[in-house]
């Protein structure tokens, strides 16, 4: 009985310390933030129904192709990576998959007012304009025109993409993933000047930040890291899950092996403990 009392005391104090320095301390250091909002409610909704055919024409008249390529529609990027890095700081995205990976409302808001959707108003203003120029309309109802463009982008996008491809389109313009030999096309010097700091390599970011953190962070970086120069990219829920799953595949490659081996190690030690206990009882029978 005495041994159990002592054990209870040891376990109690150990648990108390653990609680204090882990869950409690982390809750104090990293205050809880609201869950990810994949509806991007702060941007309001564009309720107009878009027509992809009209959108195709609007897309061309709006001047999007001045900077963006659309490979699926045989529209190559107007500049190579080096020239684009020099002009914009970061290579503008090819829009082939935009309709699949980005939220519809977000895209509409982005076209209308980029810095607001991206949440980079603290970095860009009239003196220092964002490289993406806001769309002011081509003469008709601007919301209808935007809805058409979004409908067009959705119509040309592929039905589905692999995790790595989503990462390439959504993250890789700025971030490397060197443990998977994946590197950003943007010139590093230009990127550093544009972002203020070199965006981190994401190879093992999953271990550094955890899935839960990335969930809210990618959805809205300002929420977890106020003032960061990382824009809100506007991924829909499925695309974001694919990005996180890719990060986990690269950054925690041995997870399956670890989960599987754990049971075996614990079972081995449990059997050892049982045998040790039986041996102990046998030996101590003679001395007690």
């Amino acid at each position: 009985m005495r041994e159990f009392k002592i054990l209870a005391v040891v376990v109690f104090f150990t648990a108390l310390i653990y609680w204090g320095v882990e869950p409690f301390a982390h809750s104090q250091m990293h205050p809880h933030v609201a869950p990810a909002d994949f509806a991007f409610k702060d941007l309001g909704a564009n309720t107009k129904a878009g027509d992809p055919k009209v959108g195709a024409e609007t897309f061309l008249s709006a001047g999007c192709t001045g900077c963006h390529g659309v490979a699926v529609a045989n529209m190559p990027s107007p500049m190579d990576a080096a020239a684009a890095s020099g002009s914009f700081g970061v290579v503008p995205p090819d829009l082939s998959t935009a309709g699949l990976i980005y939220d519809k409302n977000y895209l509409a808001a982005l076209i209308k007012e980029p810095t607001k959707a991206l949440k980079v108003q603290h970095k860009f203003n009239e003196e220092k304009p964002h490289p993406m120029i806001a769309f002011y309309g081509i003469g008709g109802d601007i919301d209808q025109e935007i809805a058409d463009i979004v409908a067009y982008l959705q119509s040309i996008a592929p039905q589905k993409l692999g995790d790595k491809e989503v990462f390439a389109d959504a993250c890789q313009r700025c971030h490397d993933m060197k443990y998977d030999k994946v590197f950003s096309a943007t010139d590093k010097t230009a990127l550093k000047a544009y972002m203020g700091t070199l965006p981190p390599d994401l190879s093992i970011m999953i271990r550094a930040k955890s899935k839960e953190y990335l969930e809210t962070f990618i959805n809205d970086p300002q929420k977890n890291l106020a003032g960061t120069s990382m824009p809100r990219v506007g991924l829909n829920q499925k695309a974001q899950e694919q990005v996180v799953s890719y990060m986990e595949k690269v950054g925690d490659r041995k997870k399956a092996e670890r989960d599987d081996l754990g049971y075996k190690l614990i079972a081995f030690m449990a059997i050892f403990t049982l045998l040790a206990y039986l041996w102990k009882v046998k030996i101590w029978k003679n001395v007690h």
Binding site: E3, T197, K280
Partner: protein, 417 residues
Amino acid sequence: MAEIKKASGVIDWLDQRLAVKTLAKVLMTEYWIPKNINFLWAMGVVLVVLFKILIISGIFLLMYYKPDINLAFDSVNYTIMQEVEYGWLWRHVHGVAASVIFLVIYIHMFTGIYYGSYKKGREMIWLTGMALFGIFSAEAFSGYMLPWGQMSYWAAQVITNLFGGIPLIGPELVIWIRGDFLVADATLTRFFMLHVLLLPLAIILLVAVHFYSLRIPHVNNQEAEEFDFDKEAKKYLEGRTKESKVVPFWPVFLSKDFFVVGVALTGFFYLVCYHYNFAMDPINFEPANNMKTPAHIYPEWYFLWSYEVLRGFFFDVAGIAAMDIGLAAFGFANVIFMLLPFLDRDTNHVAPAHKRPLFKYWFWLLVVDMIVLTVYGKLPPTGPNAWVGFFAALSFIVLFVALPIITKMEAKSGGER
């Protein structure tokens, strides 16, 4: 020279040359341990097992680790964690064991304090044990630097900087320790040397002395009862094993220890595979960046109490800078446990804390105070946190100042009550 005869077997052959039978008696079968003990007495063997695990896993890690600020991070996080078969296992085992060993060290140490196993002939056990604690701390700190992650770098920055507060030689000492004006490649390579060679060597030697220091005063027991070990050993050897107050180290004492080790390692492998973040701080999976200070810099959990004693004194007093008071208190915290046998003035009387009228309160207050220090050592030192830290740090010092007084009072009132 001994007379060498034709050996009757391998054991006999060895015995004639190395006296292995006598050696086995001295070290194992006739090394006597009190019978009246509980599982806390198994912590020493648990520590030995964890230390062996650290050495073995460390040797495997050493085969792929590269002590160079440009290569270290990827050699750990890519080569070891991803490329090498089961490299991740060795790293997780090493990281988790390094953290868990401190928990067991603290349990071992507080067991010694509770049962009074540090005085009346057992001073050398305590002193070598506390020296081991000090070297283990240096070993942990130097090892933490090696992956060259964010916290490796910033912890090195903050801790080496502390030496700057030492009067007269401070600034030069910091440069001497770092081997550079900043924490840099020279710092990493020298801490690598300390971690894999000098400190482990010192630990192994000190462990041997620690074990040896037990031989003369013998292991304490649950009631701190003093008895004649030779007489009890004789009883045991005569076959009166139930009546004897002692048991041999092998197989009786170790059979219980193996069971305790089994329980400990079952939990250990759970932590290694499923619950390791407490020992492998996620922030250290970001590469060191001297341009980006982490939002929160804190040491590993086992250093938090002394770190909080350092931070606790956050305001200047009578013209003395807060930093200097903190440093003095930090120095106090790091040597005061060493002096415990000499601060306890009830020198002639050994008893477990629950049989000591004042010491029992002192003991539990110390435990609670150190837990408060540990928890607040991690929290941001702002607002009320700073004040909790201040009072906890002050209490820590007051407790040790009060110890000679209350133990003297116990000694005067005399004996067991």
